[in-house]
Structure formats: structure tokens, C-alpha cells
């Protein structure tokens, strides 16, 4: 049986507050390294070098070049069905425009991908009415807790008041992990003890956000695999608790998707969206070599935008998603 231990009785909410950021005492910085990944390529410079070499410039685009493009997209985890659609669309667009060179093909492909990303809305992130509740969901190990800390840092920098809620009461030390981030950022962390009912933590968090007049509360949840129905029911309950206390919230339900993930990303998206109605995607771990191409299909399937890209370990390494840079990155 996989359901979670619930032997620890819920306690009254305990609110950790720090007026000033305190230095992190329970963690240490990683050795610095050369910046890599999508973060590096955040400047639009035409199109990916890889694609340039595949398609050439003035050479006519041949069957073989389109095969190479197909391979590049598959290798970027875009997935076979989406890849074939993109390539077909790019080819007909190029032909309709009377183009025939590699340069024409490149332009057509970039346009097609950009259009599809634009079709699901822009990457603009608006908090909305205060207090905005932001629920973070996803499978285990995608980077929910880290993304929460990064988004909180971003909101603080924009002058918002925020709190964090530790509704991952299951994984060992998850509450501590969020507390450490809270201390570093100097924001309140609403938590109960490990094993407590996550719905109760979410409720406390909403109460606290209302009574303190905060702009936003960011709710961390335990990672769960989308095929575990009991755990998905638990998540739906957290969502209901928030909605009941504060109709219209959570305004944001962010699916945290690991860029290293392959085609299972689609099942994740469908599973989480069915239960709690995902409103946007946070694509993490884009500082490695994984392209995160599945996010393209995920965004389309759910009809929601990719909002943020996780591009490093540092607290400021969460960038608003830039479709131009992403298109380039897919072929880098």
C-alpha cells in the first residue's frame, strides 16, 4: 500500500517569521561554474547553430535536411507526433511562401514553433487579486520547493509581500527545506509538523495571508506520481480547501516540469490538470543539456503557457519564459 502515514496528529499552525534575512546556516554554496544551458542563450540571435549547420544557408532544403530537423526535434524530447506536425507545417509554410533554401526552412520552422507557443498565451505572470494563492504541483523531484523559493525571491524583488506554505508534510525534511529557504528570504513559512494534513496547512496559509494582508502565498505540495489516485485525491482536496476559504483561488496552479523528462510529461500534465486544473508551467533544470521539448506538447495539450524557466541553482535563476530563446535553445 502506498498511501501516506497520517499518524502524526495535526498541531496548531506554527509560523516562523524573520524580520530580516538571516544568513543560511544549514547549507553551503556550490562551487561556481561556467554558466550553461538555456540561460546562456537568452539572447535571440537568429536560430540555433545546430539548425544552421543542418540546413545550411543558401543550399536548397532537401529531404535529408528535413530528416535531420526531425531528428533534432525528437532528440530535444519534442515527441514524435508533435515533431511530425511541426515539420509538415514548416514545409508547407515554406512552400506556400515560395521558399526553397535552408534559410527559408529555418525561418518557417521558427515561425511555426513560435506560433504554437503563442497560441497558448503569453508568458506574462499576473498575481491578480490579493491574496493570490499559488499552488505548486508535480511529480517527485522536479524542483517544486526550489522553484517556490525562486518565485518568492522574484515577487519580493518586485515589492510584493509573500508567505510560503509547507503543505508537503510527507517527504522527510521537506518542511525543513522550505523553512531554510524562508529564513534565507526573510519570509514567513506556514507549517505544521511532518505528517500533518496538507489541507489543514493550506487552510492556515490562506488564513494567514488574509489576516496579514499579503499579496501572495506560495503553497508547496508533496511530489506525487499522477497514476496514484489516492494522492491525486489528496491534492484535489488541498485545492478545494483553498477554493472554499477564498473563492477564485488558487488563481495559479503551476505544474513544475523537469526538462529532463521525456514523453511521460504529457501524462503528468493530463493527470494533474484533471485533478486541479493547471494554469501554467514552470520548466526546470534548463541549465543542463536537456532541452525540455516535451513542454511544447504539454503547453498545447493543456492550453496553458509556459511561464518560467529554471536555469540554475541560484535563488535568482528563474527567468520569465522567453519563446524566442526557447526555440533557439531547442536546436542549440
Amino acid at each position: 500500500m502506498f498511501w501516506r502515514r497520517r499518524d502524526a496528529p495535526p498541531e496548531d499552525a506554527e509560523i516562523v517569521e524573520r524580520a530580516d534575512p538571516v544568513p543560511a546556516l544549514t547549507t553551503m554554496a556550490r562551487p561556481s561554474r561556467e554558466p550553461r544551458g538555456m540561460g546562456l542563450r537568452a539572447r535571440p540571435s537568429g536560430f540555433g547553430a545546430r539548425l544552421r549547420s543542418i540546413l545550411g544557408a543558401g543550399e536548397p532544403a532537401t529531404e535529408a535536411t528535413w530528416d535531420d530537423v526531425t531528428e533534432a526535434l525528437i532528440g530535444a524530447d519534442v515527441g514524435a507526433p508533435t515533431t511530425l506536425e511541426l515539420v509538415d507545417a514548416a514545409r508547407s509554410q515554406m512552400e506556400a511562401a515560395g521558399g526553397r533554401t535552408g534559410e527559408d526552412a529555418r525561418r518557417a520552422l521558427a515561425t511555426v514553433i513560435r506560433d504554437r507557443l503563442a497560441g497558448v498565451g503569453s508568458g506574462g505572470f499576473e498575481l491578480g487579486t490579493a491574496p493570490a494563492v499559488i499552488l505548486f504541483v508535480g511529480v517527485n523531484g522536479t524542483g517544486k520547493t526550489t522553484s517556490i523559493a525562486k518565485l518568492a525571491a522574484r515577487l519580493l524583488a518586485e515589492g510584493h509581500t509573500v508567505a510560503l506554505a509547507a503543505a508537503d508534510t510527507f517527504r522527510a525534511a521537506a518542511v525543513e527545506q522550505l523553512r531554510i529557504w524562508g529564513e534565507q528570504l526573510g519570509v514567513a513559512v506556514i507549517a505544521q509538523r511532518a505528517g500533518a494534513d496538507p489541507g489543514a496547512v493550506a487552510f492556515d496559509a490562506v488564513e494567514a495571508a488574509i489576516s496579514r494582508g499579503l499579496d501572495a502565498v506560495l503553497v508547496d505540495t508533496a511530489g506525487r506520481l499522477q497514476n496514484k489516485q489516492q494522492l491525486m485525491d489528496e491534492l484535489a482536496k488541498i485545492h478545494r480547501v483553498i477554493e472554499k476559504r477564498l473563492p477564485g483561488q488558487p488563481r495559479h496552479v503551476l505544474l513544475v516540469l523537469d526538462a529532463t523528462t521525456g514523453q511521460n510529461g504529457l501524462l503528468q500534465a493530463e493527470g494533474f490538470s484533471r485533478e486541479v486544473g493547471v494554469t501554467g508551467i514552470v520548466l526546470t533544470k534548463l541549465d543542463g543539456t536537456a532541452k525540455g521539448g516535451v513542454a511544447l506538447a504539454v503547453a498545447e495539450r493543456l492550453g496553458v503557457p509556459i511561464l518560467f524557466a529554471g536555469i540554475g541553482e541560484e535563488i535568482d535563476a528563474l527567468a520569465p519564459f522567453d519563446p524566442e530563446a526557447f526555440v533557439e535553445w531547442l536546436f542549440a
Binding site: R33, A80, G288
Partner: protein, 445 residues
Amino acid sequence: MFESLSTRLQGITERLRGKARISEADLDVALREIRLALLEADVNFRVVKHFVALIRERAVGADLLTGLNPGQQIVKIVHEELVEVLGGARHHLALDASPAVLMMVGLQGSGKTTSAAKLAVRLRKEGKRPLLVAADVYRPAAVDQLVQLGDQIGVEVHTRPVGTPALEVARSGLDVARQRGADVMILDTAGRLHVDEPMMDELVRIVGSVTPSETLLVVDAMTGQESVKVAEAFHARLPVTGLILTKMDGDARGGAALSIRAATGLPIAFLGTGERTDGLEVFHPDRLAQRILGMGDILSFVERVQESVDQAEAEAAATRMMENRFTLEDFRTQLNQIKKMGPIGQLLQMVPGAGEMAGAAQEAVDSGQMRRIEAIIDSMTPDERRRPDVIKASRRRRIAVGSGTSTADVNRLLKQFVEMQKMMKMFSGGKMPRMGGGLGALLGR
């Protein structure tokens, strides 16, 4: 979306029916389907290319044409080749050194800390005395996480004060293991990107200092095309000896395992299943091959059903089925249990041969047919549910009105229920009907 390869190849079977031999063109169609199935399972595209070439060679050369069903024959060849690539000798951990050092490495979030605890539980069951060493000094609360897991499973965890370099934690861990007479030291390390040079250097130095007997690369079963690059990079810098494939209790097909195995030759040592500390299984090439092909993992299906079904209710229903006393009331209970298991299409895909049905069943749920059936049954009196033969015209009208359906819907349900009872009679008489016939008809109209 994730159709099984067998379903995909059913078209081929149709095409080939009555033909004496398989042509090159027929094979091309089949190979295209195989290619797509493997890509869908996240097998790296280079590995797919290589693999498909292998299949072509064997399918053309082999005596393909004598069997009954060419589509199935091709699936069989693919399955055999997959088992061949995935399998080889079972990986036995090298535990001769005392203490033997097992080092866990991998990307962030792959499941190293959880796997370390699971490994400790497993080794202790085998009579070893493990010591866990918490050398992830970077992620907030990573050390706390291992300490808490250690408490849960009753295994000692070696930690050092915050600010101690990972190398020092590992080295002192080895001293502690010797002092305490621990014969296995399981070293948890921080997740890191394979392209992060300073962090990879750190691992190289740790290896130099504690000389692990086993360096286990922990890989998330959901990993996509990058799996090969990641594994090759870790393998190039470190003496990696085996893989642990985690989150196998999810619905990822796990093509990463095939990719890494094909690209590096590394053996798959264990599969991580579930968040409980005993969720570490020995790897079976056969089961994984079936899963990659989407051929249905009947064992996962059984496990899932066991998790969701109320045992007492299920047994009662089974007894009634056998005694031919199965009523609409029992059927209603079963529908509830099916709902508890989650998306039915996903569930049915785990059953071999039920691939086609999965789509239809999910559609039935999505289109509200399932709810109509429930509404109809709920609108009956208890007596009617037990003895549907009392339901004549006027009762049918009442039930239709009460459930917001039509008398035609009610008629159809009653007729199909009678058919289902007949089928159960055969079932209890030891004759096995075709899988899913009854339920399929009930849901598929």
C-alpha cells in the same frame, strides 16, 4: 496516446492476412510503428535507429512466415531483442571489501537519498550492517532528510557539521564505519548536472579517497532523450558499476533504461518503486521489455487492483459471481471500485490484449456513459437491483425518468447485464471468455 505496439501492429496483421510471405514494404510499415513505439517510450533516437536495423536484419533473415500472426511474430522478435539488450547476467553488488563503499550519484531529483535508504533496508535484510553517510552538503535539509529516513529504518546516519566539505564527510564516514564494524557504507551525494565540472570534480576526488566498490547511477524512469548523454558523462568521469532506475511505480515506460544499457553497457541493478523504504526491487529484463513495448504489465495491474479494491467487497462479489447470484447491486459496487482505481483507460492499458478497449472504455467514462449506467442503477429499487426480471415496461419508464435517460438506455443496460451474467456462468464453469468482452460491450455500446 500511448498505444501498445501490439495494437499498432494489428493493422499489419490485417494487411498480411492470407499472404504467404512478408514483403520488404510490409516490414517497413511495421518498423515504422516499432520506431514510433520506442520513441514514445523515450528510447534515445540513436539507440532506436540501431535497434530497428537489428530487427530488420532478423525479421528479413528469419523464418517469419510460418506462424499464424505476422504482427505478433514481429512483436515477439522485438521483445526478444529487447530482453537480450536489457538482460545479461544479473548484477550482484560487490560487497567483499570491509567496509564496502556504495556511492549514489545522479542528477538532481532522481531519487538518490530515498534509494540510499532503501538500499540500506535491503542490505540489512541480507544480514549486513550498513552505515548511511550524508554527503549532500548543498541542498537545504538534504542531511535532515537522510537522518529522518535513518531514524525510520533504524540505520545509523553519519553526518558532519554544516560547512564540512563533502569529501571530508565521506572520508570521516569511512573511519566511523570501521570503528562501528559496519560492513557496508552507503554514501549519499548531492544531485548534480553531468556538465557541472566543479561538481563532477568533487565526485572524482571522493572516489579517489574512499574507493567505492560500487558506484550506482540513479536515473529517473521518466528521463527522456538526454539519458544517454547523462549516463555517458557520469560513466566517463566515475567508475560507475550499475544503475538504479527510480519512480518505476509511475506510468513512464522507462525507455531510458534501454538507452543507457545500449549506450554504456551498464547493468541495471535495482528498480525503485514507491516512497516506502522497502520499495527497491530486483530488475527483471522481461518485465521491463514488456513495459517499454506497452505490452501490458499484468503484475502492475494486479498490484493496482489490490491497492484500490476493498478485499471483503471483492471477495463477496466473486463468491456471488461463482454462485451465479451476481446482481446489479454488485455491479454498482464494482463500478465504484473501478472509479477508485483512477483513469480506466490507463488501467486497462496494463492488461495485455486490452489495448484497444482502453480507448473505448476511457471514452465511455469521459462521455458520461459510466455515469448514466450508475444513474440508471441508482434509480432502481433495491428489489429491482436484485431481481431485474421484475422490471417491466412501466418500471422501465420510471427508471428512465428518474435517471434522466431514455427507456432505450435502460433496455440496453438490462440486456447487457443479462449477457454479462451469461458470461459469468461460463466463467464459473471454467470456460474462459475473451477478455473484456462483456465490459467492453457494456461500455462501448
